[in-house]
């Protein structure tokens, strides 16, 4: 009995279940009580109850699973357990299913969770392509179809691309800067645990009466303020994903600023660290705007405010301005960490220093600043102030300059290198190709007169998939393959990796390339049915997309089987210079048994015996006496 009771009082899944149920019951009671007091009819209004439940139940879960225990102890004046590190590290698979404060465990938790949603989101895309294989209506009704692409995009953006980068950086970044962990390990754990809640919420919307949210991931008002309950699952899911994202970004910023190893000046940081530094700036500045936009939608839906109701003084276009003020920078949130990964992978596999290192860092900063000045290029036909279009066209096109710097610098890094075509390197080269195409179609879209024609067509669908799949997801594959030996202590199967690359590279292009043509030719996006003239190309697109989808299973098989049975990995299989490769694979629980001292740049390939960091056997240098300039 006492044992059974302790299950519900100590942190863990039993208490999480209890917390969820109690919070849901509280939500039910609160709504019924308030409606009774106000004399509303009916007293039991399930739309209202579910809305409050969707706020309360996740909080109940987070308290139950134990995200807040330490802070509650501290806040209530009880003795906090001084650093006993009981929540740190993973010694069995069970340790991945509890609140864990080890950045390496959290990194793996992030990556596995997000890959799950990647496959689920991909499955939704397959259903969409099945429906679109021929004109007319095949498998799903229009409402379900609108739900498919809405949930697909929301999961891919909020539950895969943004957080998987946070996961990779969570694992790699503290190791790279020579830190024992992130600055706020408990906040890090809380950030992770909010994420699956957001994903479950968006996925569960399919079970809501009236179907899942079906207004696209953009959720434009006033359509989103006037649709069935499923929309609320998006509105609130985004809040949890966004809070997770903001907390992680703060964590990265503080970690990078305060926890670098002795000698690690800003100009000695690997470009992945620079990339996550700039990304985190974008996240903390921009993400509150989407939170705001979705709260307004929630208030319009639940409290009948009139933020976006034109008849009552609301402003429809306002929604789009606030939404895109986040969602355009979000494109860079989904791309800059990938730039960082590509710099690491190309430099390591070409055995050369990254060409123009400082310009690479400056161009990241330039993209951050410019990224906030271009949001309205999503709104050229929205009916906003027409004068705003030309300045936004110019700033948008100017972003090609820092982006071009990066592309050309990677090419120059290849030049006179010693190139090893490993799987991550293939994905990096594939990325350069696809992202250049996506960048060029971005320039085409930025030119207002052309955008007036192709806005909201399949041309846009093609463009964003070239940027986000050929761009971001290829960098994610490169990164996961590159650090797989470090994370798991085992090597992946190189042959399967290359097969995965070639299949996905070819069928990616056959899937998304033809979308440029149907788009310019007049096929709008987000349609379950289309004119007969687009039938041939759509059939080709659908067929290619199925093979493209299947090629992802090769990756999944490779990852799972290599993780279980792959050959043991050496500490530094790629002979890289950055710090994470100087410790064992996988690294010790506290990363460094000896504190590293950074003595040079991260990519000094070509100088025999050059080292980025040394591990001093005798006395670790105290952090307070960081040498500002060590001998080069």
């Amino acid at each position: 009995m006492a044992v059974a009771l302790r299950r519900f009082t100590g942190p863990g899944w039993y208490r999480a279940l209890l917390g969820t149920l109690l919070a849901a019951a509280f939500a039910l009671g609160l709504v019924v009580l308030l409606r009774e007091l106000y004399g509303y009819d009916p007293i039991v209004d399930w739309d209202a109850i579910v809305t409050v439940m969707l706020i309360a139940a996740p909080l109940g879960f987070l308290v139950g699973i134990g995200c807040f225990d330490y802070w509650f102890y501290w806040a209530s004046g009880k003795p906090t357990r001084p650093e006993d590190h009981s929540g740190h590290g993973a010694y069995s698979w069970r340790d991945y299913f509890r609140v864990n404060t080890d950045h390496k465990v959290i990194g793996i938790q992030y990556i596995v969770t997000t890959v799950f949603f990647f496959f689920f989101g991909g499955l939704l895309a397959m259903l969409m392509r099945a429906e679109l294989a021929a004109p007319g209506s095949q498998f799903v009704d229009p409402n379900t179809f609108n739900g498919l692409f809405s949930v697909h995009a929301s999961l891919m953006i909020f539950l895969f691309i943004i957080p998987v980068f946070a996961g990779i950086a969570n694992y790699v970044l503290p190791l790279m800067i020579g830190a024992p962990d992130m600055a706020f390990p408990r906040l890090n754990a809380l950030s992770y645990w909010m994420l699956p809640l957001a994903g479950i919420m968006m996925t569960a919307s399919f079970f809501a009466p009236g179907g899942s949210f079906a207004t696209g991931w953009t959720a434009y008002a006033p359509l989103s303020t006037d649709t069935p309950l499923g929309q609320t699952f998006f509105t609130l899911g985004v809040q949890f994903a966004g809070a997770s994202s903001i907390a992680t970004a703060l964590n990265f910023l503080v970690t990078i600023i305060t926890m670098r190893a002795p000698g690690m000046t800003f100009w000695r940081m690997p470009l992945l660290v620079w990339a996550n530094f700039t990304t985190s700036l974008l996240v903390v500045i921009a993400t509150p705007f989407i939170a705001g936009s979705q709260f307004f939608v929630l208030f319009d839906r639940a409290l009948h405010t009139d933020f976006f109701q034109p008849g009552a003084g609301g402003d429809v276009i306002m929604y789009q301005h606030v939404f895109w003020f986040y969602s355009h920078p979000a494109v860079y949130i989904m791309m800059l960490p990938g730039f960082g990964i590509i710099s690491e992978v190309i430099s390591t596999n070409a055995r050369k220093p990254v060409f123009g290192y400082r310009m690479m860092a400056f161009s990241l900063m330039a993209i951050v600043v410019l990224g906030f000045t271009v949001w309205a290029h999503h709104m050229f036909v929205s009916g906003m102030h027409s004068w705003l279009r030309v300045p936004m066209m110019i700033t948008t096109m100017l972003i090609a300059v820092p982006t071009g710097i990066k592309i050309f610098s990677w090419l120059a890094t290849l030049w006179r290198g010693v190139i090893h075509l490993t799987t991550p390197m293939l994905f990096a080269l594939g990325f350069i190709t696809m992202f250049t195409l996506g960048g060029i179609s971005g320039i085409v879209l930025a030119v207002v007169p052309v955008d007036i024609h192709v806005s909201d067509t399949y041309f846009v669908v093609a463009h964003i998939h070239y940027v986000l799949f050929g761009g971001s997801v290829f960098t994610i594959f490169a990164g996961i393959y590159h650090w797989f030996p470090k994370m798991t202590g085992r090597m992946y199967d190189e042959r399967l990796g290359k097969l995965h690359f070639w299949l996905s590279f070819i069928f990616f292009n056959l899937t998304f390339g033809p979308m440029h043509f149907v788009g310019v030719d007049g096929m709008p996006r987000r349609v379950a049915d289309y004119a007969d003239q687009f039938a041939t190309l759509n059939a080709i697109i659908s067929a290619s997309s199925f093979i493209f989808g299947l090629s992802m299973l090769i990756w999944l098989y490779n990852m799972i089987s290599s993780w279980r049975h792959g050959p043991k990995a050496a500490a530094n299989p790629w002979r890289a210079h950055t710090i994470e490769w100087q410790v064992s694979s996988p690294p010790p629980v506290f990363n460094f048994d000896k504190v590293p001292t950074v003595v040079g740049g991260p990519y000094e390939y070509g100088i025999p015996g050059a080292q980025h960091a040394v591990f001093d056997d005798k006395k670790p240098v105290p952090a307070a006496t960081k040498p500002v300039v060590a001998h080069e």
């Binding site: 220093p353 010693v418 190139i419 007036i452 987000r526 289309y530």
Partner: protein
């Protein structure tokens, strides 16, 4: 390598220009936009070829020999080269932006003798109103070679008024009036497409625009303002009904085999002849269908949401047209059955 790059660029540009990218050029605007797009292609292809040539050449020329554990050249950068690849892209995008700006000013310029058309989008149909001609219509009819100024409204949610053949697109926004200008310059029938997600009927919110000679347009206006055209001599009632069905946008929401409509927002009208007589007690099939067109919420078929179908068909269609439509809907499918 330079030679290969130049040859590949020329071939690439030629291929790209050979591709038939665009739908029909149906307006003066479309010619300028298509030219702009072609220029963008001509500039883009060499840039892509440049990147690819360097990448592919590097992979072949600098690939590690098996067992090579060496490093590449220790090069950190080259300031001159970096200045070049900042400056040249800057100049290219600046030039393109200025060109784009000039074209934008040109295609949106106000022109003399404009025909004003009010466009109204609602779930899930477009309706058109010619204030100077005092004509209302569910079909967009425009005279060729006369500049048109569209004033665009939305009744419920966002829509986007787009005629791919004209290239111009403009969102319809509840609460404000937006506008766009087009000068159609080629007679023909083109599609009007809704380009902004507006709900379950979005995909099928497609109607037609007819561009006709100005003499025909004047006749059309005259017929409309005199209370609607009687079915033209020789035109079968069936064809007239089908014409109304399509031009009024019924096909955006309903399935009807005869009219090639397969949308599923509203009830399947192929089944209508079988159920119309019995659906509402004491109402004949004709009266029920007539009521459903002019007052759709009077009786909503089970399984479909109320308030979805526009309630203004009595204003948009003349009584004669509604009669024709009712006969068409009740008669058409019977012939279909008997086949």
């Amino acid at each position: 390598m330079l030679l290969i790059g130049v040859i590949a660029s020329v071939i690439g540009v030629l291929i790209c220009l050979q591709i038939d990218w665009f739908p029909t050029e149906g307006s003066t605007q479309s010619e300028e936009i298509d030219t702009l797009y072609d220029v963008l292609l001509i500039v883009s292809v060499p840039i892509f070829v440049l990147v690819m040539t360097i990448a592919i050449y590097s992979v072949f020329a600098f690939r590690a020999k098996p067992g090579d554990k060496g490093d590449g050249a220790h090069i950190h950068g080259n300031t001159k080269l970096e200045i070049v690849w900042v400056t040249i892209p800057f100049m290219i995008v600046s030039a393109l932006a200025i060109y784009g700006w000039v074209v934008l000013d040109d295609i949106e310029a106000k022109k003399p003798n404009e025909l004003v058309v009010n466009v109204t989008g609602e779930q899930f149909t477009w309706s058109f109103d010619y204030p100077d001609e005092k004509v209302k219509s569910n079909e967009l009819v425009l005279p060729v070679d006369r500049p048109v100024h569209f004033e665009i409204h939305a009744k419920d949610v966002l829509h986007s008024f787009w005629v791919p053949a004209f290239r111009m697109k403009q969102d319809a926004v509840p609460g404000i009036t937006t506008n766009t200008r087009v000068t159609p310059n080629k007679e023909g029938t083109y599609e009007v497409v809704c380009a902004e997600l507006c709900g379950i009927g979005h995909a099928t919110m497609r109607q037609q625009v007819r561009v006709i000679s100005s003499a025909e347009f004047d006749k059309w206006v005259k017929d409309r303002s005199e209370g609607g055209a009687a079915p033209e001599e020789g035109e079968s009632p069936m064809a007239a009904g089908r014409q109304i069905f399509t031009s009024a946008g019924c096909n955006a929401c309903h399935t009807l085999a005869d009219a090639n409509a397969n949308a599923q927002v509203g009830p399947d009208l192929d089944e209508l002849p079988d159920v119309a007589a019995t659906r509402e007690k004491g109402t004949s099939a004709e009266d029920y269908v007539q009521e459903s067109i002019v007052d759709p919420d009077a009786l909503v078929v089970k399984g479909f949401p109320a308030g979805t179908m526009p309630k203004n068909f009595a204003d948009q269609l003349t009584p004669e047209e509604i009669d024709t439509l009712v006969q068409y809907l009740l008669g058409e499918s019977k012939t279909e059955k008997s086949k």
